[in-house]
């Protein structure tokens, strides 16, 4: 019989669907899925409030669903209608029920309810990258036009802040396992994950936690503020930069108040508190400005209520959420697809963990795509925000060099 390490290597080399999710201690791998549920607006509520509660497995850790909600599904869930957009017709959301969980930390621990889980065959699929360079869907000129239109909307008070998304794309297929571990070596982020599936792959180094719910306590960790790394900069200097920079401070303040609002909708009066205000987190290419907010959930709130209040995550849209999404929908000609949706896990006891799908690469059919966004804030310039988007995409684009 294969030992744990040999099993894991063989699993990587197979074409079995699997999910890898970064944890505090290392990584969790989920596989041997007994169910795959495509989530749409019709079954979302049932899935969250009923289906995820079933406790069929004797192994508690396997009583869970892992997967993602796309951006459009999350918007439609809060009553927003979409105009016609160019779309790749990718799944609106998919969740999986695992029969095997492998935790990689100091040791490899495997828990499975599938008797023959070590029985796997190796895949010989060839990966092909058709074009070398990524295409960007918006030129600086097109971006500037949208930027200027939104600047006008801000002056009119229709939105306080708005984030324009851009998409890099090219033809090809990826070996997602190789790409993921390469990415983790370069830029391990707290909300990283991978989904390897027969018809698609997602590789992510998301830094942003949207929901961390344990029992009745919920936390969210919005990021607003990005600074490109240079040799002269360290964490302390980055903090000083953010504190002195009016644009970054205003942008951050707004997101903090917005996330306080989204938590207040589902939390007990007086329980919503700022846990850690304005800390700097360090990544390979950049520094982020981050705040943690927490609250105690009201007794009658369901997981669907919680998802509806917090998703789609505010920090990647702008503020106020509904009117800003409506403005975005008029200008964003491309479907955001999975970008700014959420990936995560729901346990049968109601605990949840979700990220925001940013810094996330999707390979669907023969298309590889990656989106980034940054904010229109008066006092900023189109060129600066356009470049900020490139910095955000860089660590993922570099994987193809």
């Amino acid at each position: 019989m294969l030992n744990n390490k040999e099993y894991l290597n063989k699993l990587y080399q197979s074409d079995k669907p699997l999910i890898i999710y970064k944890t505090d201690k290392g990584y969790d791998i989920y596989t041997d899925f007994s169910r795959r549920i495509i989530i749409n607006k019709k079954n979302l509520k049932y899935f969250l409030n009923i289906q995820t509660k079933s406790k069929k497995s004797k192994i508690e850790e396997l009583n869970c669903y892992v997967g993602f909600f796309g951006y459009k599904l999350l918007c439609e869930n809060i009553g927003i209608k979409f105009p016609k957009q160019r779309s790749k017709n990718f799944h609106s959301g998919v969740f999986y029920k695992p029969q095997t969980k492998i935790s990689i930390g100091k040791k490899i621990i495997i828990k499975s309810i599938k008797p023959d889980f070590r029985n796997i065959s190796i895949n010989t699929k060839k990966y092909l990258q058709l074009n070398k360079k990524f295409n960007l869907n918006l030129s600086l000129k097109q971006y500037s036009k949208i930027f200027n239109d939104f600047s006008k909307n801000i002056k009119q008070g229709k939105t306080y802040q708005i984030k324009i998304a851009q998409t890099y794309s090219k033809k090809g297929n990826i070996n997602s396992i190789d790409l993921f571990w390469k990415l983790m070596k370069m830029n391990e982020s707290p909300e990283s994950f991978l989904i390897r599936e027969k018809d698609y792959n997602i590789v992510s180094c998301s830094p942003e936690t949207l929901i961390l719910k344990k029992d009745k306590t919920i936390r969210t960790k919005p990021i607003a503020g990005t600074l490109r790394k240079t040799k002269q900069l360290n964490k302390n200097k980055a903090l000083t930069f953010f504190r002195r920079n009016e644009k970054e401070t205003k942008e951050h303040n707004m997101i903090v108040d917005m996330e306080r609002n989204d938590l207040s909708k589902i939390c007990k009066t007086g329980s919503v508190k700022i846990d850690k205000l304005k800390k700097v987190e360090e990544y390979r290419d950049l520094f982020h400005y981050v705040t943690t907010i927490k609250g105690v959930i009201k007794n009658k709130m369901s997981n669907h209520d919680i998802i509806s209040s917090l998703m789609p995550g505010g920090s990647v849209i702008g503020c106020p959420k509904i009117s800003t999404i409506q403005l975005l929908n008029r200008k964003e000609k491309f479907d955001r697809n999975i970008y700014t949706g959420s990936f995560g896990i729901i346990h049968s006891n109601g605990d949840m963990r979700f990220n925001i799908m940013i810094r996330t690469l999707l390979n669907f059919k023969n298309d590889i795509e990656l989106s980034v966004a940054s904010g229109v804030i008066l006092g900023s310039t189109a060129k600066k925000e356009y470049n900020e988007n490139y910095i955000k995409a860089k660590s993922l684009l570099d994987l193809f060099n």
Binding site: I154, K155, Q156, G157, K158, T159, Y160, Q161, T249, K250, E251, H252, N253, M254, V256, D257, M258, R260, N261, D262, S264, K265, C267, T269, G270, V272, I274, L277, G314, C319, P320, K321, I322, S323, T324, I377, L378
Partner: protein, 185 residues
């Protein structure tokens, strides 16, 4: 009971928590008003929101109907809705202040707050009320220390109060004190 009218803002529930910690508060969208609860409420609060007062004719109607009969408090857009109903023009201001913290001062000795009381307030507005503002019973009681832009109006006879800044923001440390005092009138 307080009836909080939400103009689909992303800060309304910060305000709802603040109000609810003082008096039970019911929240609804501006286009889904529960008439029975509205009638029963002792105070109506107009939330912040995107756009300008003339985008919300339903709220204008409610203000005109209940002014003088119930206590009314407006925050940000809600402030602008009150002064708009009282004849003021709403205009774009030079500097757009979203997520900005300002020093705000009580400038009028007829205010329910002590004159010269100086505090920090969080602001989210690109529009402001045009001045001079003339009204029989409503007075401007607070201003931005730096720019002199009007930050509060009070009509203590009709029990109507408006705040251009956000008492609900984490950028306004004395927010609860301010709201408590208004609700105690």
């Amino acid at each position: 009971m307080i009836y909080l009218i939400d103009h689909e803002d992303s800060f309304t529930y910060n305000l709802a928590h603040l109000l609810d910690s003082i008096e039970p508060t019911f929240v609804s969208n501006y286009y889904e008003i529960d008439q029975i609860k509205l009638e029963k409420s002792s105070t109506i609060v107009l939330s912040p929101g995107p756009g300008e007062p003339k985008d919300y004719p339903l709220t204008t109607k409610i203000y005109n109907k209940y002014k003088g009969k119930k206590k009314i408090l407006g925050i940000c857009l809600g402030f602008q809705q009150i002064v708009f109903c009282e004849g003021a023009k709403i205009v774009q201001q030079k500097n757009i202040l979203h997520g900005y913290q300002s020093h705000i001062k009580v400038t009028n000795d007829k205010s329910i707050f002590k004159k010269n009381f100086n505090f920090l307030g969080g602001r989210y507005h690109s529009l402001k009320m045009a001045e001079p503002f003339v009204s029989q019973s409503m007075i401007i009681t607070m201003r931005c220390v730096k720019t002199n832009v009007a930050m509060a109006v009070e009509d203590d006879i009709n029990k109507v109060y408006g705040l251009q800044f956000h008492p609900d923001s984490f950028l306004t440390p004395h927010g609860k004190y301010l709201i408590k005092k208004i609700l105690s009138r």
